[in-house]
């Protein structure tokens, strides 16, 4: 212990620490600082009593207020669910068309449907419901199975060509490679392409029309406008699920792809499926 030393200039005693002749004054802490410090000590004691604080072997003290951040989240979630209840009850009770007729209910269902869509549907239909070859674009106004809210709802509930659902929408385009020769396939492809645009060899169109009438019109209709009961697409418009142009058409004639969509009714439940239908119907192409 060094000797007590008083600084000559300030008259304050020093701590006894010295570095190259520089000494540290032993001034007291400012009182406001001390009182603040004592106040924080008292606060800390109160805090550890009131809130979870002391770690134990397997858990921690719970505190007399029994607070936990998890519990707080739970409460907030419960409050949010409670706020949604009246909408959900209404959606349960109403048909899709009735939901759409009710402004605030429609807004709720659209927002909720969008959330469900992002989790369950974007994998195939894309984040903007814009689709991709083989997976239909839900924004446009071409609907294989019907574009009313009710029809969309039915499609979502039962799926398409989904074997586990007896009510699923189903149809199957046969593989015409076994029934038509390559020349006929080329002709009919040229004819179908000519319905919506120019073709490479106009001479093929007329024989193609005959092939079409014999083989395709049964499902796609004599005017090739399609048939929604069979999910047969309109072949005269600008929208092509499996690609446009003669080559893509020929490919689909030879060995057709028949896409599958799962049935969502059982998986997501009544309310969510209705919300999804409202959302998809709102995308702009709904009928």
């Amino acid at each position: 212990m060094t000797e007590k030393h008083i600084d000559e200039v300030s008259g304050v005693s020093t701590t006894g620490h010295e570095w190259d002749g520089i000494r540290e004054l032993d001034n007291p802490m400012p009182r406001w600082w001390l009182w603040t410090f004592y106040a924080t000590v008292i606060w800390a004691i109160g805090y550890t009593v009131a809130y979870p604080a002391w770690p134990l072997l397997t858990s921690a003290t719970r505190g007399v207020l029994d607070y936990s951040s998890r519990g707080e989240v739970k409460q907030e979630l419960a409050a949010a669910s409670a706020a949604q209840e009246k909408y959900i009850a209404a959606i349960k009770a109403k048909s899709v068309d009735e939901i759409e007729a009710d402004g605030s209910l429609r807004d709720f269902a659209t927002a909720a449907g969008a959330a469900t869509f992002r989790v369950n549907c974007v994998q195939c239909h894309g984040s903007g419901a814009q689709g991709s070859p083989g997976f239909p674009n839900l924004n446009d106004d071409e609907w294989l199975w019907g574009g009313s809210a009710d029809q969309i709802h039915k499609t979502i509930v039962h799926g398409i060509r989904f074997v586990d659902d007896p009510d699923t929408r189903t149809s199957e385009m046969p593989a015409f490679a076994e029934m038509l020769n390559p020349g006929q396939i080329g002709d009919v492809s040229a004819y179908v392409a000519s319905l919506s645009g120019p073709v490479s060899d106009p001479a093929k169109v007329e024989p193609g029309a005959k092939v079409f009438a014999d083989n395709c019109a049964a499902c796609h209709g004599a005017n090739a406008k399609g048939n929604r009961d069979l999910g047969a697409p309109d072949l005269t418009d600008a929208i092509w699920l499996y690609g446009s142009g003669e080559r893509a058409i020929a490919q689909q004639v030879r060995a057709p792809k028949n896409g599958v969509m799962p049935a969502w009714g059982a998986r997501l439940g009544d309310v969510k499926v209705k919300e999804l239908a409202v959302y998809v119907h709102s995308l702009g192409g709904g009928e």
Partner: protein
């Protein structure tokens, strides 16, 4: 007329004077300001009445805005994010008006400070005004300076306890009223008052009252001058704005020194005597506990009460007023040079006097012309420029606005007939408190047609939209263009919104996006 020797000498020592300057962490020495009277004191009473009146009464002013908006003249409606100021309504995105006001206030402060020094501190700062108010209470209950010093030193007795309790109770009531008045700026005042009194107001209202009650009571009653000296950055900042032509409260030692309590005796002895009779009246009235005769110092808020105190003494002994006065550094220096022969000798009061005892003509006096100098002109010009720009912006601002956001995904949709459709989120801002019907049209998109979700389908190029008063309406609008009119890539066009009943229009430049190469 009193003789110099008859002027009462007050036992007053400047708490914060250079002679007894204390270390920063030392306990505060109490200050007991004596009541002053005079022109500046009267002016301060008037300023106090006006500032307190504005603060307490403003929320109760009514202003009719029709059935769709609150009728409170000044209201910061945080819940609905609107700010009402008489005929002006401000939305959050127009907050730059408030920022502009703050800039104007800042430059106004530069202007005021460069001309009349720390007038803000001395007259209008809430700290000064409320301390003044609290001192009125203290004086009414405990008496003036001497009585208060005596009471403070006296042992605790029933009468002391009663006085102290009464003082602190009144202080607390003022503090509660102060904190209470603040919340009325944020909600309908009469409704909120009822709710507060019946315990039905929001918790935040009571918390705000509690916090502001505490700060008012502690700052105005307990801490007083310490707030200015230790907590406030303003004195440091303001000092930087002063120059040699700014008015500050000045002890004119060129005519006051050498000070003497026994002027007659000294005069008889042939010593030169200044005007200061060392009565300490200036020290006794100072709310900051300083001795202005030590010169300009950081603590001085230029409240000018020492001028009043000194003037009344000068009146009594028949000397000219202005021993302590508002003076500029230039004038002071000129007069000092006169009194000291340009610093050649100590102050010789005779040099600044005429034989009759009046001040010499050569003594520099302040005149209004000194206010007009380049610095004040620049401040005034900048201040006015910002004010005019804001006024222009306010008078020409749009009360109907349109914002358009193009869908990102998908950017466009090919429809069955080959037409291209683009989706937009359109936000219509009806910024007046009346419902309006807005007609939206497309301009510059050949063959363009639109429809909106949730609005009666209306083919063609117009949509009629009902917008609620003072609200934003968000619409999902689909725009279509036929295949044969389509241009590949991005085509600029314009959404135009027009008030059906009025003349106001708003437009937004948007783009219509089509596939790059058409099929």
């Amino acid at each position: 007329m009193l003789d110099v020797g008859e002027v009462e000498r007050l036992e007053a020592e400047a708490v914060n004077s250079a002679r007894v300057r204390q270390p920063l962490y030392a306990a505060r020495k109490k200050i007991f300001p004596k009541r002053a009277s005079g022109q500046f004191r009267r002016f301060k009473w008037i300023v106090m009445a006006i500032t307190l009146g504005i603060y307490y009464l403003t929320p109760w002013l009514r202003w009719d805005r029709g059935p769709y908006a609150p009728d409170q003249a000044v209201l910061v409606d945080l819940a609905n994010r609107r700010f009402y100021f008489f005929f002006i309504e401000i939305w959050p995105q127009e907050f730059f008006f408030v920022a502009g006001l703050l800039v104007m206030a800042g430059i106004g402060l530069f202007l005021i400070t460069s001309t009349v020094g720390r007038a803000w501190c001395g007259y209008t700062c809430p700290q000064t005004v409320w301390v003044d108010l609290f001192l009125v209470v203290e004086r009414a209950i405990e008496g003036d300076r001497n009585a208060r010093i005596k009471l403070d030193g006296a042992p605790w007795s029933v009468s002391k306890m009663v006085k102290r309790a009464a003082k602190h109770t009144v202080w607390l009531l003022i503090a509660i009223a102060t904190g209470g008045a603040w919340i009325f700026y944020f909600a309908d005042a009469p409704t909120l008052l009822g709710e507060v009194l019946t315990g039905q107001a929001a918790a935040i209202a009571y918390m705000t009252i509690a916090v502001l009650t505490a700060t008012t009571y502690v700052f105005g009653g307990l801490m007083r001058e310490q707030v200015c000296t230790y907590m406030c950055p303003w004195p440091r900042i303001q000092a930087a704005m002063l120059d040699e032509n700014s008015l500050t409260v000045t002890y004119n030692d060129w005519r006051g020194e050498p000070r003497s309590r026994h002027a007659k005796k000294a005069a008889v002895a042939g010593e030169s005597v200044g005007d200061c009779v060392d009565c300490n009246a200036c020290v006794a009235v100072c709310p900051m506990g300083i001795d202005i005769r030590d010169g300009q110092q950081l603590e001085c808020i230029t409240c000018a009460l020492c001028i009043d105190a000194c003037d009344s003494v000068m009146d009594k002994i028949g000397k000219e007023r202005g021993l302590i006065a508002y003076a500029t550094l230039n004038d002071y220096n000129a007069n000092m040079a006169l009194a000291t022969g340009n610093g050649a000798h100590a102050i010789e009061p005779a040099l600044v006097r005429q034989p009759g005892g009046r001040l010499a003509d050569k003594v520099a006096q302040f005149h209004l012309g000194k206010i007009f100098r380049p610095r004040t002109f620049v401040y005034t010009a900048v201040w006015a420029l910002i004010g005019l720009a804001m006024l222009y912006a306010l008078l020409t601002r749009e009360r109907l606005q349109l914002n358009v956001l193009h869908d990102r995904n998908p950017q466009f949709v090919v429809l069955a007939d080959g037409a291209i459709r683009n989706g937009y989120t359109v936000k219509l801002l009806n910024m007046i408190p009346e419902p309006r019907t807005i007609r939206i049209t497309l301009e510059g998109l050949q063959g363009g047609a639109m429809n909106a979700v949730g609005i009666e389908p209306m083919e063609g190029e117009t949509l009629a939209v009902e917008v609620e008063p003072d609200r934003l309406k968000s619409l999902k609008i689909f725009v279509r263009q036929p295949r044969d009119l389509m241009r590949p890539g991005s085509t600029p066009f314009r959404f135009v919104a027009k008030d059906v009943a009025g003349t106001e229009t708003a437009s937004y430049d948007a783009n219509f996006i089509a596939p790059e190469a058409s099929r």
